[in-house]
């Protein structure tokens, strides 16, 4: 394969064509049509990201019944556990109705009642949801194209060109075997590349941490890296998620075990449900299964006749196929935890600026890094419907800042820098021998997937997990690929490994339990010593960490006396 060097330029380069990247591009072009905006997406913009693979719901706040502060208070106490940036969360809630209106104006089908109000499903005292068709990102791509956004599909980000802490552009490569390598001079750049899901689960766990690792390499700070260990109950054979299954857990003795970790219905699964599964299994009380019936378990899922798929929309067909698959192999309701991950740790300020000048991070790659959700892996961070809308929120906030920004021509990228990036990008292809990237990925999965390693943590168990991580680290510089699909896998293996390293690096530091973060050896929440963010960064190739106090005294919701 001959490598072809292409040189491109734009005002704003957006990496990632999911809902966050598309939002940012639309909002920017609507505010300033003269800006030259380009999206690169390693698969297909409009099909990338998770918005078209998940539950298809948008969070809705009934602001005629509750105030944004009411929700904030609920979230800080129940979910974020005082570790969040309350200003960002408050702004998100306040923008809720405006975001829905924008989506509608961009061609997204947000269902409405005959009187023009949104068709809302209440889900709790502080939350409600609106269903949205899973073609949401396709509609947004169409809007982007109409506004003149340039889109490069099947093009993966490889690295950034940074000088004196300021972004100058990026390198990227085609994942097709056409040899196209791109040097993109950009005045500003936005990462919208998704979270880290460790290439483990199916469905919406599609993030590979590309932007997280590339930002880390470029010197950007990370925050809340230890909150990237989300796990969900799945059916034993099909591995399909059982959303809200935590309310219905029973052990093999027939004991209702949900009561051991909660006395009320949760907004979404807490990590204590995963801990309970582990404790029951270790006590020989497994397997754990779900039972449906009268409260407290709740009603059983409806039994349905085989549906007619030919008349269904994409979203309905997608959900039905997954449900039918699950029903075809799981004859009972035995459940086990499955890692989902969701590390989203690129640190941003309230305008989604990273600590590298000119570089922004939005959506799933910076959800926890923005500080908004607090002590919980996100998206959606036990806050159903917030995944898509957080990406819309962050995309709008970043675009507002970018629209008002000053644009200067970046310093040219030298040929030596281009060649260095090219050599790094294609190294796995030109190596005579090396490891299969899947060996590295499997080792990292061995370290991250067991619940007692990554969710219900303890020092000695983290030591065990790190043996897998260290083994993977010894291999990662010698990966081999035979084509561009393999090259992408090699780079993803690097990103996956880095995320696991950051997870355990920060998790060993945090000597307490808080929100989702559980340590068997430090079971108590320690507000005196650990109301802090852990900031991880790359200093001359070494992973370092420091802590920063959460400025709780400046936030609306204070610690209880």
């Amino acid at each position: 394969m001959e490598i072809k060097k292409n040189v491109l330029s734009c005002d704003v380069l957006i990496a990632g064509g999911g809902v966050g990247g598309l939002t940012c591009a639309i909002e920017l072009k609507e505010q300033n049509p003269a800006l030259d905006v380009m999206i690169i997406e390693k698969q297909f913009a409009g099909f990338g990201g998770k918005a078209n693979k998940g539950g298809g719901v948008l969070q809705y706040f009934q602001l005629d019944k509750i105030t944004p502060l009411d929700f904030l208070r609920f979230h800080v106490n129940e979910i974020g556990c005082f570790l969040g940036d309350q200003n960002v969360m408050l702004k998100y809630v306040e923008m809720n109705h405006g975001m829905l209106d924008k989506l509608s104006s961009w061609g997204v089908s947000v269902p409405k009642n005959p009187d023009g109000s949104y068709n809302v499903m209440p889900t709790g005292p502080f939350t409600a949801m609106i269903r949205v068709e899973l073609d949401i990102t396709l509609r947004m791509r169409q809007r982007c194209e109409k506004l003149g956004v340039r889109i490069l599909d099947k093009t993966a980000l490889s690295g950034f060109y940074v000088k004196d802490g300021r972004i100058r552009g990026a390198s990227a490569y085609s994942i097709l075997d056409d040899g196209n390598f791109y040097t993109i001079s950009a005045k500003k750049a936005v990462l919208a590349t998704g979270s880290q899901n460790y290439r483990f689960g199916s469905m919406w766990g599609s993030g590979r941490g590309d932007g997280i690792a590339i930002a880390y390499r470029a010197g950007a700070e990370m925050r809340n890296a230890e909150f990237g260990n989300f796990s969900q109950l799945v059916r034993y054979k099909s591995h399909h998620e059982v959303v809200f299954g935590e309310n219905n857990m029973y052990n093999a003795k027939g004991e209702f075990i949900t009561k051991n970790f909660t006395d009320h219905r949760q907004t979404d699964i807490p990590s204590t449900a995963i801990r309970e599964w582990y404790v029951q299994m270790m006590a020989g009380n497994g397997p754990v299964h779900l039972e449906f019936g009268p409260p407290p378990g709740g009603a059983a899922p409806e039994k349905k006749d085989p549906p007619d798929l030919s008349k269904m929309s994409y979203g309905d067909k997608f959900r039905t196929l997954n449900w039918m698959d699950s029903q075809s192999v799981d004859t009972d309701f035995e459940v086990v935890p499955s890692l989902i991950g969701e590390q989203s740790c690129i640190r941003t300020d309230g305008n989604m600026r990273t600590t590298v000048e000119g570089l922004y991070a939005i959506g799933d790659c910076s959800y926890c890094g923005s500080g908004a959700p607090g002590a919980v892996p996100a998206p959606p961070g036990r806050n159903r419907g917030s995944g898509i809308l957080n990406a819309v929120f962050a995309g709008i906030v970043a675009a507002d800042d970018l629209a008002a920004a000053e644009y200067r021509d970046p310093e040219p990228i030298a040929e030596t820098e281009i060649n260095e990036s090219l050599d790094y990008t294609y190294a796995p292809l030109f190596r005579d021998e090396g490891y299969d990237p899947k060996e590295v990925i499997r080792l990292v999965q061995e370290a991250m997937a067991p619940s007692e390693y990554s969710v219900y943590m303890r020092e000695d168990r983290m030591d065990e997990a790190m043996k897998f991580v260290d083994k993977a680290a010894a291999m990662v510089d010698d990966l081999k690929a035979s084509d561009m699909h393999g090259v992408l896998s090699c780079h993803e293996a690097e990103y996956i490994l880095l995320s696991a390293q950051m997870h355990y690096f920060a998790s060993r530091m945090r000597k307490e339990s808080r929100g989702w973060f559980l340590r068997e050896d430090y079971p108590e929440t320690d507000n005196k010593n650990w109301l802090k963010w852990i900031i991880v960064k790359n200093v001359n190739g070494q992973m370092t960490a420091e802590t920063e106090d959460v400025p709780i005294e400046s936030y609306p919701v204070k610690l209880p006396e």
């Binding site: 997608f318 698959d325 699909h485």
Partner: protein
């Protein structure tokens, strides 16, 4: 997911060459044969049984057959006994 053994059945007679399955596959399992105007299921070993390609196909030309046993949850079941 890695190391899975899912299968994909494809009926080229039903396919109309719309490229939707190629575009929908977010794990690059499906490539596009421009000359034949048909998908190539090139990296089936990376299929995650998400059913996206099946869901977008309006001609019912694709069938994904998961092998669930080839997916590993990596929980330490032997330790839990």
């Amino acid at each position: 997911m890695i190391g899975t053994n899912h299968r994909i059945e494809f009926d080229p007679e039903k396919c109309v060459g719309c490229q939707m399955c190629y575009k929908a596959c977010f794990v690059d399992v499906i490539r596009w044969d421009e000359a034949a105007r048909r998908p190539i299921f090139k990296y089936v070993e990376d299929c995650e049984h998400c059913f996206c390609c099946m869901s977008v196909c309006r001609r019912d030309a694709i069938r994904v057959i998961p092998d669930h046993e080839s997916e590993h949850l990596l929980q330490h079941f032997d330790r839990y006994r």
